[in-house]
Symmetry: C2
Subunit: 116 residues, 2 copies
DNA sequence: TCACAATGATACGGAGCCGAAACGTTCACG
DNA sequence: CGTGAACGTTTCGGCTCCGTATCATTGTGA
């Protein structure tokens, strides 16, 4: 059962959610940071810097810096892989899960209010 | 007829669209710029700097700078109001309409591919 | 007319992100 | 062993954005 959207619904949803995010005055994440965060939480682990860089088609420093920023916000965590100590495994956090849960709530609420 | 989304659908949609945007274009608009653009194209005119600033809960320079950036990209246009020459009326452009049309297509396509 | 309000643009210092390149650590393998 | 590859990080200069304060222009009302 797929989700069928009209052009008006699609852009209207993007509009209201973007507006809500901008107005919330909370620390808004970059589109890249958001993509990384969603990738970490919606795709089965393990997640590595290199893997995320390949998935997003960006360079590794982009991932490192995004993890620095989101790590400082408590949204993600980094742990060395003991089996191969060159790797860094990106871990989920309670704060990160809560952040995305709230984002989902906003999207659902805005979708429900769409005229048609 | 409102749009009912499950949490999985909501975040999944955001995930795939954000991923698509990050992968495709270097033309990353800020969340604020995106909100301004959608406001201009989805809400009946006229649009002014002051009005947009009030709607988004941001300061006027934020709007001015965003219009500078998006104006350079051809996504919006600015025209002095002849009735009150203090005002600037923000105009839509063909390129801007096309940009949002493509964004809508991406959202619709990603929504259709959602597993459930 | 003339002081004042309103509108949008600009100046300034600060902060964050960018890509490319170089770096330190760790592993694989001859 | 030791040489090279893989991984993540850091550095560098440059660019964009931010918020506050201030500016020039235009309208308003006593």
């Amino acid at each position: 059962m797929s989700l069928e959207l009209t052009p008006s619904q699609a852009l209207g949803l993007w509009h209201t959610v973007a507006l809500s995010q901008v107005r919330s005055e909370a620390h808004d994440l970059t589109l890249r940071q958001m993509a990384i965060l969603l990738q970490i939480y919606l795709v089965p682990p393990p997640h590595t810097v290199r893997g995320l860089a390949a998935t997003l088609h960006v360079t590794k420093p982009v991932i490192t810096r995004a993890l620095d920023t989101m790590g400082a916000l408590g949204l993600v965590d980094r742990v060395r892989d003991d089996k191969d100590r060159r790797n860094v495994i990106i871990k989920r956090t309670v704060a990160g899960a809560l952040y995305l849960e709230k984002l989902g709530d906003v999207i659902i609420a805005e979708a429900r209010q769409l005229p048609y």
